[in-house]
Every structure is written in structure tokens, then in C-alpha cells.
Amino acid sequence: MKIKFEKKSTKPSKVSIFLSSLISILIALVFLGFIILSLGDDPFEAYWQLVSWAMGTVPGLIQSLVSMMPLLFTSLGVLIAFKMKLWNIGAEGQFQMGAFAATWGALYLFPNIHNPWVMIPLLMILGAAFGAFWGFLPGIMRAYLGVNEILSTLMLNYVAIYWVNYLTYGPWKGPGSYNFPITAKFPQSAILPQYGSGGLNFGIIISIIMAFFVLYLVKYTKFGFHLEIAGDNLRAGEYAGVNVKKLIILAMVIGGAISGIGGMAEMSGVLFRLQPNFSPGYGYTAVIIAWLARLDPIATIVVSFFFGVLLVGSQQLQLFMQIPSSLINAFNGILLFSLLASEVFMRYRIKVVRS
């Protein structure tokens, strides 16, 4: 017996892509149920806890939107590089560097700026610059020395995380933090407009605007066109006159800047203080979000919200059923596998041949 793959002549339609994504999510949810069952918990109660509060109540929905924001920024950040099949796994580090830069600005660089109209843009530029720098390093190493960007971005993630740890445990430990590794609170001028007390803030709006900006970038600019060509075939891109080296660096820098702004927005919009482990791995989840959204910036908004719901829901699981929230990581892994497999079934006709 042999398994044969025949390439389908037509490209999969939008409907079949959507359906296959939906099926992949369902498959992952079924596996999730079995994993929950393995600890002796009721999977149906868990499913209910996962969505009921996060989607069924106003505070839950607001929380989900708040969780969506960093996910959306980082997903958009990795999406640009993914377009040209550049595996930027560094959104986590770029996000953390953005948060670091915003904290630096808010607490140490601009103590005399009391006007939020000046402060907020400054912090945003600072966050973008440091995020971009954290993308530039792996970008230039990949472009000119052929250093594998997966490894370099991952290594830089760890460096960024330890950098934040160093600052918050050491020189930046805030007054009145009772020896906890946490900085002082941002001044009022460095805080993004808040709506109500549930955490709704202007950063969410920025993240959605950013999605449309990225849409414009990849669909309607020469840069986006070049990404597309290089993504299809790097060599063809070179023949078509694309400066691939420049493109690699640009994709990493722009992506890094977007993730960096995400880190800034998380600080100025949600947390107001830098502390270790302030990100539950947003930048890693972003990889899956971008993939599930098939690198479409608008679909990324929807998928990010879905993962925001999952994140909030998993906190509910931990709170009410004592189910460890790392469950979501397992879900992410299974989802990625089923997405990949569904890709195969969409593009190939699979035949079992008896020989």
C-alpha cells in the first residue's frame, strides 16, 4: 500500500480556506478536551468556562479586547516578515524592548514633559525604535551573513527578557514596590486615554488602525508587492530587480517597530509599570495567529480577538477549575499542526494505492 499525493490544479478557494481553518480549530478543541479529561476535569465545563465569561459578559469582552491588543500588534509584526517566508519569531523580544523603551522614556528620559500630546508620541517613537532595532539585528545578520533568523530572533527574545529582568530587579526597582521587581508607575502624561474602569484604552484603537496600515503596506505599496514576489520565489525576486537584502532588513525593521509599539501600548495603555514576565508569550502566540489568519491583516484582527478570548478564558479556567493556563500553549501547538495538515488536504488529492 502506498500513499500518493496529486497536486490539485486549482488553487483553494476563499471558502475552502475558511472552512479548513474552522475545522482545524474544531480538531484542536477536541484534542484540548481530551487533554483536560486527562486530569480528570470535565471538558464541557471547561469549554463553557473558556468562553462564557470572556465572550458572554461586558467586562469579559472588554478584557478580551485588552488581551487582543498586544496579540494584534505582535501578529502584525511577524506577518510582514512571514509574507516573504522570513521566519521572524522575535516579536516577543521586540515587544519587550518596546515596553522597556516606553518605560525608559516615561520614567527617566522625559520627567519634565507633562503634556500627553507630546509625551505619548515620543514614547511611541521610542518603543518603535527599540522594537525596530531588535528586528534590525537579525535582519542584517540574515541579509549579509545568512544567519538563520529563527535562531537569532529567538536568542534575542531571551536577551530582551533578561534585560527587563535586570532592570526591574535592579536599577529600576520602584520606590514602594516592597522589594518586588516592579518599576514606579507611569506619570499621568504617559498613560493612554482610558474608557471606563475595565481596561478599555486607546491602545486598542491604535492596534486596529495599525492593522489597516499593514493592509495598505502589503497590498498597495511597492514594498508589499516586493514582499509578495520574494515570498513566492526569492530568486525570481532577484531577477525581477528586487533588492532582497534590503527587503529582508526592511521587513524585519518594520515588523519590529510594530511589535515595539505594541510593547509601548501595553505599558502606557494597560500595565503602567514594567515588571518581569509581563507578557505571557504574546509574541509566540502571534506566530500562530498570523498563520491562522493566512497573513491577512484584517483577518488578523478577528483571529487576535479569538485568541484574546482564549487567553482570558484560560485565566478563568485557572481561577475556577484550577486548570493550568499553559493549556493554551498545547492548544496552539495542536492548532498549528492541524492547520498545516489541512493545508495539505486542500492542495493535494490524496490517494491510497494498493501495489
Binding site: M141, S326, G333
Partner: protein, 309 residues
């Protein structure tokens, strides 16, 4: 001072051992043409499985065996995805990392703060009495010794046996290997899974010998460092040994620095292995070096008899 020298070098070997196992396994997988980036996930599952089995049964060897099998099981998932379904090996490897992180964190939650049996040092008679070298090299736990032995065994296997030659052929020129009657698909499955065995063992070393406990994400990026080490080692087991222990040395430097009261904060020193990895990649990855020594030509390319890409 002598104590510090000895403890630093001994620490380098201990910290290098999980890197060595994972790197050796990945060398075998990549030599067959399969790129498995999921080492971090397989190691975490190995670490969790080893620790939990040791906790439940108290039997260390059973624990190690279980960890090895779990590593292989995870690798077989990657093998199926990348060899049979021929999907992108990079993304499949990433998925494996998420899966391993998630499952080990989820199931391991119950074991945080527990204590289990762990491997103790086993001094080798005579050799262990050699000044300096004895206490550094020959007064370690048995898994370290297995690490020493694995290197020449794998080297001999790769370069001196028919099976090893076939393995290299499959990674270099699968078409030609196929024409000579070597089963490309089977070979790739086999060595991807064996690679997983090694990662599982690497994980078990961390939770049963290096830091005998279970903590979520306790491999702390070592799986990724091992992926980098494979490139550094230009797919050679002997260079892998040097690289693994060198990296081990860098990651234990902080303990020696603390004793010597070198004024570098711990969190800054924690960055060293990762920064060093980037620097190593800078040199090892340059296309010139790659061309000179050669990665397996068919690395990451799925094989199919009908369809040539």
C-alpha cells in the same frame, strides 16, 4: 581557587551534557535531511516525563526510558508531518515546541516543588583520582559518561558503517540513494525518531541530574541553542562535543563569577549563552563556510519519487 577551577569545568560538562545529547540527535536527523526545530518541545516533554516517572515509581532508569520514548513519540509526529505529509518543516518544528511547552506545563503543574530520585555522581576508579581531570571528568553521573561514549559511537557509525553511509546519502542525494535501493522515507523516519530519543534523554538529564526538579519551561531555550550548535558543529559529532561543553561553560560562568564576586548582575550574565549563540551563528552561518563544509544538501526538502521540486 582550585575549587573554583574544578567546579567551573565540572559545571561546564554538566551543563553541556543536555546540549550534547540534543545536538547529537539533531545531527542524525538533519543528516537524513529532516530539519526538526522542535528540540525545545521534545526536551521539555522529556524533562517532565522523566521527573514524573521518577517521582511516581522511584525508578530512575524507567524514568529515563520513558523520557526517551516520549521524545521519540513527539519526533514521530514531526516525521509524519514533514516526511509523509511533506509540510513545511520549520512550522511543524515550531508547532512541536508549542505542544511540548503546553503539555509539559499543563501536566507538570502538579509536580512543581516536588522531589524525586535523581542521578548521583559515580566516581570512576583510578581515572577519578587523576588530579584536576579526575574530579572534573570522571566524577560525574552516569548520564554524563553515556554522553562521552555517544560521541565516538555516533562518529564511528556515521563515517565507518554502511548504515551511516546510507544515512548521509539520504540527506545529501536522496535520488541517488533511492536508486541504490535505500528506502529514503524509512531512513528519514528512523533518524528523526532517534533524534527525538536523544532530545528526550537531554530533557531527562535536566530534570533528573542537572537541576533535579520540575519547573515549567525549565529547558530555558537549550533546545534552540542545540539547533544552533548543530550548525556550529558543521554536523560533526566531535565538534558538537566541544561546542556543547563550551556553551555549558558559559552558562555556568555566573556561579563562578558570583564566588569571585565579579560585579556583573545575574540577569546580565544569564544573557551570555544566548548572546554567545548569536555570535557563534555569525561565524558558523556565513555562506562561505556553509559552502566549504556543507550542510546536508537535501536538508529540509521533502522527498518524493514522483514529484521533483
Amino acid at each position: 581557587m582550585n575549587d573554583i577551577v574544578i567546579s567551573t569545568f565540572a559545571g561546564a560538562i554538566r551543563a553541556g551534557t543536555p546540549l550534547l545529547f540534543a545536538t547529537l540527535g539533531e545531527i542524525l536527523a538533519e543528516r537524513s535531511g529532516v530539519l526538526n526545530l522542535g528540540l525545545e518541545g521534545m526536551m521539555l516533554m522529556g524533562a517532565f516525563t522523566g521527573f514524573s516517572i521518577s517521582y511516581i515509581t522511584g525508578n530512575l532508569w524507567l524514568a529515563v526510558l520513558a523520557a526517551i520514548l516520549v521524545g521519540g513519540l513527539m519526533a514521530s509526529l514531526h516525521a509524519f508531518m514533514s516526511i509523509t505529509l511533506r509540510i513545511n518543516q520549520v512550522v511543524s518544528g515550531l508547532a512541536l515546541v508549542f505542544l511540548g511547552q503546553g503539555l509539559s506545563g499543563f501536566w507538570g503543574n502538579a509536580y512543581v516543588g516536588m522531589q524525586a530520585n535523581s542521578f548521583q555522581n559515580l566516581k570512576i576508579p583510578l581515572l577519578g583520582d587523576i588530579p584536576y581531570i579526575g574530579p572534573i571528568v570522571f566524577n560525574r553521573d552516569i548520564l554524563v559518561y553515556i554522553g562521552y561514549i555517544s560521541v565516538p559511537v555516533i562518529w564511528w557509525f556515521l563515517y565507518k558503517t554502511t548504515a551511516g553511509m546510507n544515512l548521509r546519502a539520504v540527506g545529501e542525494a536522496p535520488d541517488a540513494a533511492d536508486a541504490r535501493g535505500i528506502n529514503v522515507i524509512l531512513t528519514r523516519y528512523l533518524y528523526t525518531i532517534i533524534g527525538g530519543f536523544f532530545s528526550g534523554l537531554a530533557g531527562a538529564y535536566i530534570s533528573l541530574a542537572y537541576t533535579p526538579m520540575w519547573v515549567q519551561n525549565m529547558t530555558a531555550g537549550r533546545g534552540w541553542i542545540a539547533v544552533a550548535l548543530v550548525i556550529f558543529a558543521i554536523w560533526d559529532p566531535v565538534i558538537a562535543l566541544i561546542g556543547a561543553y563550551a556553551f555549558g561553560g558559559i552558562s555556568v560562568l555566573q556561579f563562578s563569577f558570583q564566588i569571585l564576586q565579579v560585579p556583573i548582575p545575574v540577569n546580565i550574565m544569564n544573557m551570555f549563552p544566548y548572546i554567545f549563540t548569536v555570535f557563534v551563528m555569525l561565524f558558523a552561518s556565513s555562506n562561505r563556510i556553509k559552502k566549504l563544509f556543507g550542510a546536508p544538501s537535501a536538508l529540509g526538502v521533502p522527498y518524493s519519487r514522483e514529484e521533483k521540486t
